[in-house]
């Protein structure tokens, strides 16, 4: 107990180490556009409504997705122009202004020149603006201010009262006036009832400089105005008052090119001095260290993640804005030796060096100095383990084996905290506090110390011991008092212990996967969050413990410290970076190596601090990194379908949704805009109508060849580290129509047609069968008729009479006659079954018949056959037809010497076989009633469409039979 109650009077040896901040701003990244190995100069930037960045260059417009630049072609592909202004109007049209005064608009993925009747300006287009009343304004650097309305271009220039024709920037006021920055002050322009109203604000009205270079909105119709050589000022458009900040009084940063207000900060891009950061709260300005080559910078804009973008002569520059700041520590101690870090309520950063001296940093402008405080008994081997600033402003220093020191941060007076002997050489694990309570955890036991009302470090403090046995162990990494007054203990090996009104609860395995708890914090909703040695983090909502591991989106399981930042997000510190978890949305964002930070001291629990503003400080290899949670940012990537291609040719996704069946090869190009870390973006896509599952990919393009007809919706989600909870989604719905031969109407039509064909087939077959049947019947009828005729007693009687008389007169011929008669009957019998026979055969049998009849009638019956052999061979005829007709002629006519009967057969028109006979009607008409002729007509009707014609003029009777082939 050597130094037991000795109070040390200030014995500080203080070395001032001057140190200029020279480190590059974390999150800094420069992107260069190169075309054919030539650097393309960037002139202007635009953030689109969906967050997409457009870059205006010496070679037209490029889009930038965080990874690659893509050039937007001109309508004439070979064309290019130097873009000096970019603008998206209220109707969604992208405008580009060029150095040569020309203007173009983006139409169907290419740039078309805007060619009004009035021609285009001849001088550089410096800015665009849309005043919300369908007027598009454009500033010309030399000709004044144009506005385009109702297809007419109008000009406001010095003749109309504009103070100068060099207009370099435009800003729309809350009232709808246009604020135009010129080389002769600000002109406030408006058009009222076709009259141009121009009012000038110049040095006479309090403007510090004539030349206005930029105007930026500051909210509530107030504006920041950048000038050529007098810095910047604040213009209130409502009162007309101009305020000049103190830092502009002796401005030596050169021309202001661009101004951007982001919450409580104003970013100023200068022509010669790089980027400046002006704090509205403290009215101080400091230079932001970019690359030494980035001097001429302009075009500030803030992306949806809170990064600040600008252009310099070296390309497009991303900075993390105010989200990340890096402060090199004086003496540049190796980061792994910095065990403790504290940002006090005056903005000084405290840390330990390799010799375990305590250092307080003091920053004056760009210079940082460190004051060393040598605490007694501390050597290289006795670590400082914790630093804590209490509500009285005093700093508590916990050491390993040398107890606790209480230090006044201003006077640097300190004393050993020796309220009890066991404090004197205690080994402190952590010092923490809440309000007037300070919690100290030592290997010797934990206690709660009540702070006195005054900040005098020399008075005696009262304390209460915690019962180590009740906590479970004396190895407590963190004691945390939450908003409900509960005290939580993070123990090594005994899990989480909760003390509530002297009642202890224990949360250990198997409820928790790991019993080594390192750090505890609470979010704004009252959930308790704690980290474990290697099982990730837990959220306790009062009922359940939720574990977050890599599957839930954490980038590392070896987590040291959890802190809640000013926005209420949980900052998770691990070796490779910070994971920032939004307890409300569940989104996790990441600060990793691609932000330019490396090697975070995640071994020492005391090497993380939270300043009074709620920013989180960690020790990294390059110095102390301060994380300021950005407000109003998108914590997740924005999923966008950049283009849809059909057979690799772009289609217009706004209008084209229906495709033919052979238009079936689709390529989707998509992106997840997240400029902070494009390499952490994962995609999940699904083609509804084809896939039933989501497919996770890192590719940014997907082709679906040979899609079947149907309705589809392509959905794409983008998220960081596969954490697709609440991921943003983009979709494109389309339809591939059925091939016409697969459409319902076509198939239906085919079925109907087939049914008709089958119906027709059966119908006609039925008809055919009926015809055949009828033909058969007709034939039978005919045969019957013929046979009846032949066995007609008259015929037989006459024939036999003839035969008898012949036998008597001429026995030779009688035999012949009998043979003919027999031939005749054989023919009748042979041919009766045939449908048709050749005309020749028929005529042959007709000859036989004639022979028989002529024996009876002699020369009174004549028959002329005028049909050539060829014709007889060619044409066909139903059997016995001619015979029946001749029989009819003989039957119905008187045959005598006075009235001979002449029957002639001839072919008329090569169509008909005519059988004609002269008419000598019998006195007594023969019976039969024309059955035979009707039979022939019926038979012919079944054989041909050409009808049988019957002609009777009382002199001749002609039957015309259609010739059959």
């Amino acid at each position: 107990m050597r130094n037991h109650a000795i109070r040390f009077i200030v014995t500080i040896y203080c070395i001032c180490i001057a140190h200029t901040i020279a480190a590059q701003s974390p999150g800094y990244k420069s992107f260069r556009i190169e075309k054919e190995n030539r650097f393309v100069q960037i002139n202007c930037l635009l953030k689109d409504y969906n967050g997409y960045l457009f870059v205006g260059t010496d070679d037209g417009i490029y889009t930038f997705d965080g990874d690659k630049f893509n050039r937007i072609p001109f309508e004439d592909n070979n064309k290019t122009d130097t873009v000096t202004a970019l603008f998206r109007d209220g109707e969604g049209i992208l405008w580009a202004g060029f150095l040569n005064g020309k203007i173009a608009r983006l139409r169907h993925k290419s740039l078309q020149y805007f060619e009004p009747e009035e021609g285009h300006p001849q001088q550089k287009i410096a800015a665009f603006l849309n005043d919300g009343s369908h007027k598009t304004w454009f500033a010309s650097n030399g000709e004044g201010l144009y506005y385009y309305a109702n297809n007419r271009v109008n000009l406001i220039n010095s003749d109309d009262g504009l103070s100068d024709d060099h207009v370099s920037c435009l800003q729309l006021s809350a009232k709808g006036d246009v604020l135009a920055g010129t080389d002769q002050g600000i002109n406030i322009c408006s058009i009222q009832q076709n009259k141009k109203l121009v009012r000038t604000i110049g040095p006479a009205q309090g403007l510090p400089d004539y030349i206005v270079t930029s105007i930026a909105a500051a909210g509530n119709d107030r504006y920041w105005v950048g000038t050529q050589e007098k810095g910047f000022c604040f213009y209130d458009h409502v009162s007309g008052k101009i305020t000049i900040p103190a830092v502009s009084a002796n401005w030596n940063y050169g021309q202001v090119n661009s101004i951007l207000q982001d919450q409580q900060l104003v970013w100023i891009a200068t022509q010669d001095s790089g980027l400046l950061r002006y704090s509205i709260a403290t009215a101080t300005i400091e230079r932001v260290h970019l690359n030494v080559n980035d001097r001429h910078i302009s075009c500030l804009l803030r992306d949806n993640q809170g990064n600040i973008w600008l252009r310099s002569e070296n390309g497009l520059i991303r900075t993390s804005g105010d989200i990340l700041r890096l402060m090199p520590l004086p003496g540049t101690p190796a980061f792994e030796h910095v065990h403790v870090l504290l940002s006090d309520n005056k903005g000084h950063t405290w840390f330990n060096n390799e010799q375990n001296e305590l250092i307080k940093t003091i920053q004056v402008n760009d210079n940082i100095t460190g004051r060393k405080i040598q605490l007694p008994g501390l050597t290289e081997k006795t670590d400082i383990t914790s630093l804590y600033q209490d509500v009285n402003g005093n700093i508590w220093v916990g050491t390993m084996g040398r107890g606790i020191f209480l230090l006044s941060p201003e006077s640097l007076a300190y004393r050993s905290f020796d309220e009890h002997p066991r404090f004197i050489n205690a080994s402190v694990l952590s010092i923490n506090g809440s309000g007037r309570n300070v919690f100290v955890s030592c290997l010797e036991g934990s206690m709660e110390i009540q702070l006195p009302e005054t900040s005098d470090i020399h008075q005696r403090y009262t304390y209460t011991d915690f019962d180590g046995k009740k906590i479970g162990t004396n190895y407590v990494y963190c004691i945390y008092k939450d908003s409900k007054g509960r005290t939580w203990f993070a123990t090594d090996g005994k899990g989480l212990t909760l003390m509530q009104q002297s009642h202890y609860s224990y949360y250990t395995q198997p409820l928790l996967k790991d019993d080594r708890i390192y750090s505890i914090t609470e979010d704004k909703q009252g959930n308790i969050w704690f980290s474990t040695a290697n099982a990730g983090i837990y959220k306790y909502d009062g009922h359940t413990f939720f574990n977050y591991g890599t599957n839930e989106g954490l980038s590392d399981l070896n987590i040291s410290v959890l802190r809640t930042d000013w926005l209420g997000h949980i900052v998770i510190v691990h070796k490779k970076g910070l994971d920032i978890l939004d307890p409300v949305s569940g989104n996790i964002t990441y600060i990793t190596g691609n932000q330019g930070i490396a090697y975070i001291n995640a071994e020492d629990l005391g090497a993380v601090s939270k300043d009074t503003a709620g920013n989180i400080l960690v020790s990294t290899r390059n110095g102390v990194l301060t994380y300021t949670a950005p407000e109003n940012v998108l914590e997740k990537p924005t999923a966008l379908i950049e283009s849809v291609q059909l057979f690799l040719a772009d289609i217009d996704t706004a209008t084209q949704h229906r495709f033919r069946s052979d238009e079936n090869n689709f390529t989707f190009n998509f992106t997840g805009l997240y400029y902070t870390a494009p390499d952490q973006v994962y995609y999940k896509y699904k083609l509804e109508g084809l896939d039933s599952n989501w497919i996770i990919t890192r590719d940014r393009s997907k082709t679906f060849p040979r899609l079947a007809p149907g309705k589809y919706v392509f959905r794409i989600q983008a998220a960081l580290n596969k954490n697709f909870i609440n991921a943003s989604e983009a979709l494109y719905a389309f339809e591939i129509k059925q091939s016409f031969y697969k459409t319902y109407w076509f198939i239906g039509g085919c079925i109907l047609l087939a049914a008709l064909l089958i119906y027709w087939y059966f119908k006609s077959r039925e008809k055919e069968l009926k015809r055949i049947e009828r033909l058969r019947q007709e034939k039978i009828q005919f045969q019957f008729e013929v046979l009846r005729n032949q066995v007609n007693p008259h015929f037989l009687f006459n024939s036999f009479n003839t035969l008898i008389s012949t036998i008597e007169d001429d026995p030779k011929n009688a035999a012949e006659y009998a043979t003919q008669l027999s031939d005749f009957f054989r023919n009748v019998v042979n041919q009766r079954d045939k449908d048709i026979i050749s005309l020749k055969d028929e005529i042959n049998s007709l000859h036989t018949y004639f022979y028989l009849q002529q024996k009876r009638y002699g020369s009174n019956l004549k028959c002329e056959i005028n049909i050539s052999d060829v014709q007889q061979e060619t044409y066909m005829i139903p059997p016995l037809t001619l015979q029946l007709l001749v029989e009819n002629a003989v039957k119905h006519n008187a045959v005598s010497k006075e009235t001979p009967l002449l029957i002639s057969l001839f072919i008329s028109d090569e169509k008909y076989l005519d059988i004609s006979n002269n008419i000598n009607p019998k006195i007594n008409k023969a019976g039969g009633a024309g059955m035979g002729l009707q039979n022939i007509i019926n038979r012919y009707r079944l054989l041909t469409d050409t009808p049988v014609k019957v002609y009777n003029d009382q002199e001749y009777f002609i039957v015309s039979l259609p010739l059959l082939r």
Binding site: E117, E118, G119, P121, Q122, G142, E143, R152, V153, N154, L155, N157, D159
Partner: protein, 183 residues
């Protein structure tokens, strides 16, 4: 209206008085031609009586034409209607355009220039500020001007009776050709 006529007159008079030392060009030969292409009727008319001056050092100009000098209508009746009903040439006898050339170019050297003139176009007594693109061919001591532009009847309070709505275009195409000689 009156003011602009006074201004033009002053300009014309002053231009004459200032003599040869000033680089002022006068129109020696000027035609103005208009064309109304309506669904039912095409009307064209022209006047050769375009008067005007261009001061190439100040880049100012003034042009004027008498409405009554337009000829070439489809019928004498049409001309009468044009003058009495539409243009009311008794009340507003002239049309004029005066102003300043926007481009900062030196017209004292020979060459072909495309310039834009910003000025007040006065037709039917109504003044409209217009930018009109024209081509100047400066050669020795003469300038040839050619320009095409459109005039909206509504801009100049020229009412079209309903009955001739289909016969008269709401947008009139105007073509100007003039050669100017150094004064």
């Amino acid at each position: 209206m009156l003011r602009s006529i006074v201004a033009i007159t002053c300009f014309l008079v002053l231009g004459m008085q200032e003599g040869k030392s000033q680089p002022v060009y006068n129109i020696s030969n000027g035609t103005i031609h208009f064309r109304s292409d309506a669904p039912l009727e095409l009307i064209t008319a022209a006047s050769r009586e375009l008067k005007g001056k261009v001061d190439i050092s100040k880049k100012t100009f003034a042009f004027m034409v008498k409405i009554l000098s337009f000829n070439g209508f489809n019928s004498p009746l049409q001309k009468e209607h044009f003058n009495e009903n539409y243009m009311e040439s008794g009340q507003y006898p002239t049309a004029s355009f005066s102003g300043k050339i926007i481009e900062d170019i030196d017209l004292t050297h020979d060459g072909v220039y495309t310039v834009r003139a910003k000025g007040n176009l006065v037709i039917h007594g109504v003044s409209q500020e217009r930018i009109i693109k024209c081509e100047l061919d400066v050669k020795n001591s003469s300038i040839a001007i050619s320009s095409n532009f459109t005039v909206l009847l509504a801009d100049h309070n020229i009412a079209i009776p309903k009955i001739v709505h289909e016969k008269l275009a709401s947008e009139i195409k105007v073509e100007v050709k003039a050669s100017l000689e150094l004064q």
